[in-house]
Symmetry: C2
């Protein structure tokens, strides 16, 4: 595996917004190179008005930061822009990340305004890695979140990821398959994702196979002879009910059954899936093929899958393409990277805030951490509380949470345990975290989704999971807003 | 440039749907390896109900096919799937594409159902390259089409691509910037895209720069001292009108003007852009900074830009991010790859068709080409006609086009010249086409969009550009549909 990973590893050091460089050059010239700062990654809104999102992409963030390096070509290119100083370019040529990173583990349910990743580093280092951290987490968190929605809609039936041909670039397919797998799909059609990440791959035939032979019967027959143990026929090249299903049954009887094999499945890729699957199921059952699965694969997502079930569709497996791999209904995960603190002379984080004209864009200041509260009896997640980094939650005492906007809304929590959601990833530039294998990340993800109440996971008007601020953090923020507001 | 390209070149041979391999293994076992077939790439619907789309990604398709190669690791991985034959794996290990490819040039306006790329090759070769061809063309054509929409809405004001952090994977950012540039943006923020493709890069400061200094004034002052010739200040960290713009003006007076420099611009990234830009413009003008540009950059696209102009916004430059780089409003370009002909014993293409339950999914059969008709006087595009490959249009005679559905709707064309849109890309496995440099592709694209009538390019209910079939092609298709339809 590592060999294959290496083959596909690219140095992404230059994948950054150019302003990271103009700013860093400025920091460098103004003696701020060693100024230690804190940046948080957080997002503001769950895609598709869902109740939660899922963290993914951390493993690739780690790989990127470990491999960060500007080679001679890079420096030459930057020099050619004629706006960066030679001393800064020299500094870049021996650049190495030396800071700390804390982050939520992959597969963790995440909510708006939580610091899902925090960087503490000298300002240039922290600034230069902004674009890649956001790009990586935004992309994979988006797809994992979407995948899990579709998987939950499928309600125990398997979902396969089929989207490579419609994905937004090669990495959209490769890392999209990885993210989809974390979210719960059982397989991908993308061979390279299978090779690199060990995801199960699946695939049988396209319309071209059927068209290449003189007729549909011969096409199915030939496939059955070649793959007697894994035949799934695509039955909609000509007419599903008049030719596709009858030919599939005929080949099952004439080719597979005499060999002691069973027809594994038929696949519908167009037309009215509810009507066709019900009719096809009946035909298959009447022919004794009750164990033959029906696979559906035409522009599916959680909405169409739910609708198909409501119509009584007889579908056992879903192949989901473009709407999963691009998160078509909402293709952007809006994670941002904001400066929240600057280290003072005593090496303590001094909080910073971004006010903005849009109230919801006001950031949570300071170096923070996040505690997830779980109910001791049910093991269900109760709420998250964002605190300043030095705060410790005493699980032996009741803990009062309050709404950060309507502060009179309070609730006293008892009988809980807590989990710190940020774990150390880098310490002084060295990785101190080992990413679990992909199957473990996937299992962790599915188990963590199960800690959420159904009210939070439903698609329609989900209950808002509480993400509150500790009293100390709330007070700090309130004071800073007042300081910058117009009244003063 | 080539050195840099090489550095970033990856072998994408394994990026394919697994069914390409199961089918190819089947073709191999059944002696169909050398069967020559024809596949067309076409799409069915212009994104966002636009009047046209734009072709992009061909250069990357060429690079991919030239580099196609399965190495030992790849073969080992495929062997481990336990469903492909050893002879086939041996064949793959010395695989080379030997076929022909014809395609529309990058930057060409494209319309539904046209074969924008045609592959003629032995069936295994043609099958294995399906996923990558679709992925590449779908992604870049989507983004070029979107970019051009935004650029047209900006109506002569410059548009810069700022989307890397929200793009779907690394290639979403890199090739997204390339595609956006073809569509007409003037610059990208993505440094790597500048390095690899020579696209102009731009960038000045983020909120973190402003936050790092003790106050906004000091932040602007420091930036101005470092970059006196290229200062654009981000003015919304605290309050645009009460602090951002006043501080920008102050720094212009106190720092830039004494050095003989001018304030280049201010950037708005939140709030009511129409209101703020009008107020800011007034403040800048009253301070004598009439040449200071106002840049806007908060969740923009062609719709918000049009609306801003309608509200009288005073914006000179747009920075467009997530809605461009993901084509947020419609993030999928639905190009498909369909078998249209199989070579017979006389080495002639014998047409194939895919019927499907959905009428609009019935493909155009046979080996075809596409002629674009231009009016001799205005040089405007009149229509496209898809013909069989052997057909020649005599430009000295009137040519009658007819609607493929309502065939009584006819039109006789005179005073025209034609352009064949498919050009040879590969011949017998060798590249016979040289991709123009990116700037030339971009110029070609913008000039070709100008050949379309305004009725076709408008956003609301654009006129449908005629894409007709020649009489011979229409008759062939009609006969094939009848053959497969239920009546027979």
């Amino acid at each position: 595996m590592s060999k294959i990973n290496l083959k596909n590893k690219r140095n992404m050091s230059m994948l950054m917004d150019f302003y990271e460089l103009t700013m860093s050059n400025g920091y460098f010239k103004n003696g701020l190179k060693d100024k230690v700062v804190y940046f948080d990654v957080f997002f503001r809104k769950v895609p598709e008005n869902g109740g939660f999102a899922l963290m993914a992409g951390l493993e690739q963030v780690i790989e990127y930061i470990e491999g960060l390096k500007f080679d001679e070509d890079d420096i030459d290119y930057l020099r050619s822009k004629n706006c960066l100083d030679e001393e800064f370019l020299q500094y870049l040529s021996s650049f190495k990340f030396t800071g700390d990173i804390y982050a939520f583990e992959e597969g963790t349910p995440i909510f708006p305004n939580e610091p899902i990743l925090t960087v503490k580093a000298p300002v240039i280092e922290a600034q230069l890695i902004e674009t890649m951290i956001l790009l990586t987490l935004n992309h994979q968190s988006l797809i994992t979140t979407k995948s899990n929605r579709i998987v939950r809609a499928a309600n125990g039936r398997g979902v396969m990821e089929f989207g490579a041909r419609r994905s937004q670039g090669y990495d959209g397919a490769i890392y999209g398959a990885r993210a989809a797998y974390i979210g719960g799909v059982i397989a991908t059609a993308t061979t390279l994702a299978g090779q690199v990440f060990g995801i199960p791959v699946s695939g049988t035939m396209a319309h071209s196979w059927v068209q290449l032979f003189e007729d549909e019967y011969t096409a199915f027959k030939t496939y059955a002879e070649n793959y007697p143990d894994s035949s799934t026929f695509l039955v909609d090249t000509y007419s599903v009910l008049q030719s596709g299903v009858p030919n599939a049954i005929k080949v099952s009887k004439e080719v597979l059954e005499p060999m002691g094999c069973r027809l594994k499945g038929i696949r519908l890729d167009s037309g009215d899936m509810a009507y066709l699957s019900i009719k096809a199921r009946k035909m298959l059952d009447e022919a004794g093929l009750t164990d033959c699965k029906i696979v559906a694969s035409n522009s599916l997502d959680e909405y169409t899958i739910t609708s198909l079930f409501n119509q009584g569709a007889k579908i056992d497996l879903f192949g989901v393409g473009e709407r999963l791999v691009t998160s078509k209904a909402e293709p952007v995960f809006g994670g941002v990277y904001k400066l929240v603190a600057v280290e003072n002379e005593n090496m303590e984080p001094e909080a910073r805030i971004k006010i903005s004209e849009n109230a919801e864009k006001v950031s949570n200041p300071g170096h923070k951490k996040v505690y997830r509260f779980f109910d001791k009896d049910s093991n269900k997640a109760i709420c998250d509380v964002i605190t300043l980094a030095h705060e410790v939650i005493d699980i032996n005492k009741p803990y009062t949470i309050f709404d950060p906007v309507h502060i009179w809304k309070k609730k006293k929590l008892k009988n809980f345990y807590v989990k710190e959601l940020q774990v150390p990833i880098f310490k002084n530039g060295e990785v101190v975290y080992t990413s679990p294998c992909l199957n473990d990340i996937r299992s962790y993800c599915l188990s963590q989704v199960n800690t959420l109440w159904e009210e939070v996971t439903r698609f329609e008007n989900p209950h808002t999971f509480y993400v509150d601020l500790s009293k100390e953090l709330w007070t700090l923020k309130d004071n800073m807003i007042k300081k910058y507001s117009n009244e003063e």
